[in-house]
């Protein structure tokens, strides 16, 4: 952005506070008329140094901190962190705990996608969409709240299991909620397919092809909308995803419309997974037997070693690289968030489009700046 401007060019700064943004970052656009000639992103407005803090917290305290990496998907972050530690400890949660984790993570996926779709609607001026999806999201949040006791940050997973069992009456409450959600998703789908203005704002906007998407390093719905069936739940199954029947949702167009469509279809798949889980969930203990791990984990030291564990976040591939030196605190923890490469891929996508499309393209990425900044 330092180069000299031509007489008919200008720079506008979107952010750090801008309605288009899921959190503070700055997008500097170089424009000629309405066409974007160059774009640059400045990050770090909410960089809180989580990796450094985690090095100075015990593993148990770390669960609370990783919750706050991305507040929309706290349980998935926990799964990644706890999964890393479990691999180093060499323990595996019992079947019931695994099912409970899958249930909660799929609920997290649903609420994150609902917020993502709603935010996208708001960014392109379709504010009613935001209200519709938030209304459904509150229902899902109350289901999560029922189990974990919190809406956003849970600290629910523990090493080797989960903190509490599903409360009485969870299934009875969950099934009608999911049925209602199914109907709502069908409504959204119909609305997207029939609303002419919506289609004009999204179809053919911000097109990514499979090869370009791969070379940009994106993952999640943004990649799947280009037709690449890359999903960690299938490629590298963790928990009980191997035993569950679900398909990886893909679209071929690679534009904003396809990205939102992938998210809608994933909500349907998640509902299907949840129904299977609620049917199949076995009874049993919540922690592995004959180990010291339980609801009140003792002061624990993790054997020296290193591990890279990946899980499927609603936004794509979430990975953590944990190095332990045998003490009670991680020596190093690198968080590989899914939105970071997606945000990085934003400037090449918006160059050549118009200013009005910037909001649409940026919104269709379904962002969470907190996780990109950490």
């Amino acid at each position: 952005m330092e180069e000299k401007l031509e007489p008919n060019e200008m720079i506008i700064h979107l952010g750090p506070q801008h309605p288009m943004q899921p959190g503070p970052f700055r997008l500097n656009l170089r424009l000629r008329g309405e066409t974007v000639l160059g774009a640059e992103i400045e990050l770090g407005f909410i960089h809180k140094g989580i990796e450094k803090i985690l090095e100075n917290k015990t593993y148990l305290q770390g669960i609370t901190i990783v919750d706050r990496i991305c507040y929309l998907v706290a349980l998935v972050n926990e799964e990644c962190f706890v999964g890393c530690t479990e691999k180093l400890l060499g323990i595996e949660p019992p079947a019931r705990a695994k099912y409970i984790r899958v249930i909660l993570e799929e609920l997290t996926r649903i609420q994150s996608h609902l917020l993502g779709i709603g935010e996208f609607g708001e960014f392109i001026g379709f504010v009613s969409m935001f209200m519709y999806t938030i209304r459904e999201r509150e229902e899902i949040l109350s289901l999560i709240d029922m189990v974990t006791g919190a809406r956003v940050t849970h600290s629910y997973l523990k090493f080797g299991g989960v903190r509490d069992d599903l409360p009485a009456g969870f299934k009875e409450k969950a099934i009608p909620t999911l049925n209602k959600l199914k109907k709502a998703v069908d409504d959204f789908d119909q609305m997207f397919h029939t609303d002419r203005i919506y289609r004009e704002r999204t179809v053919g906007v911000g097109v990514l092809t499979a090869d370009v998407a791969k070379s940009l390093g994106v993952s999640g719905p943004v990649l799947r909308a280009t037709g690449v069936p890359f999903d960690i739940r299938k490629n590298e199954p963790y928990l009980v995803y191997e035993d569950l029947d679900f398909k990886v949702c893909t679209e071929t167009a690679g534009d904003c419309f396809a990205r939102v469509q992938v998210r809608l279809n994933e909500i349907r798949e998640s509902i299907y997974i949840l129904e299977q889980c609620l049917d199949q969930i076995p009874n049993g203990p919540l922690f592995p037997e004959n180990t010291p791990y339980g609801r009140r984990t003792p002061v624990m030291r993790v054997p020296a070693g290193e591990v890279f564990h990946r899980v499927e976040d609603p936004r794509g591939e979430m990975g953590m690289y944990m190095i332990s030196d045998g003490s009670d605190k991680p020596y190093r923890l690198k968080v590989r968030g899914p939105y970071y490469p997606t945000l990085q891929a934003l400037p090449p996508l918006i160059i050549g489009t118009t200013v009005a499309d910037v909001a649409a393209i940026s919104g269709s990425m379904d962002g969470c700046t907190s996780e990109a900044d950490r």
């Binding site: 990050l43 070379s215 390093g217 591990v307 890279f308 690289y321 590989r336």
Partner: protein, 158 residues
């Protein structure tokens, strides 16, 4: 693709550059790479072994060994193997060739590693701070001997 074949192919092609290659599990492998050859090895991985997805680049500070490590996690969109490639650098003058020309998305990861650890990436197109304010450059906050942590400016600390 089998993880053992990948390691064999890698050590066979770069017998000097790759050391301590080991298979951790069916889907994880790790190896040390000579810092001069890191870019070349990445190019080979991408072209010949389908490692077309760079998960992350990060730094690790081994203060007792007086070394900094750059760790590349390289994966693929086709097979589930993740290769952890490490390059050890001296702590007083850490420099390594940038891999942006191979993996486009290494750009931000390298910028972040630069500002947090002080590892210089040669031939990087735009090596400037990403998440830290400009005046914090040079403090290298994620190194183990960083003095500014914990921050004690909060007035109500107990």
């Amino acid at each position: 693709m089998d993880v053992r074949k990948i390691i064999e192919s890698l050590t066979g092609t770069f017998p000097e550059a790759i050391s301590e290659a080991m298979v951790e599990s069916e889907i994880r492998a790790r190896a040390y790479v000579d810092k001069e050859k890191a870019r070349e090895v990445c190019q080979y991985l991408k072209d010949s072994l389908q490692f077309d997805h760079l998960c992350s680049v990060c730094g690790v500070d081994y203060i007792k060994r007086n070394e900094l490590e750059v760790v590349y996690h390289i994966a693929s969109y086709d097979h589930p193997v993740v290769l952890t490639l490490k390059a050890a650098l001296p702590r007083d003058n850490p420099e390594i060739e940038s891999v942006v020309s191979v993996y486009w998305n290494a750009n931000w990861y390298e910028r972040e590693t630069y500002e947090l650890f002080g590892i210089l990436f040669k031939n990087h197109p735009n090596l400037k701070p990403l998440v830290l304010p400009d005046d914090m450059l040079g403090e290298w906050p994620l190194r183990k001997d960083y003095k500014g942590f914990p921050n004690t400016t909060a007035k109500n600390l107990v």
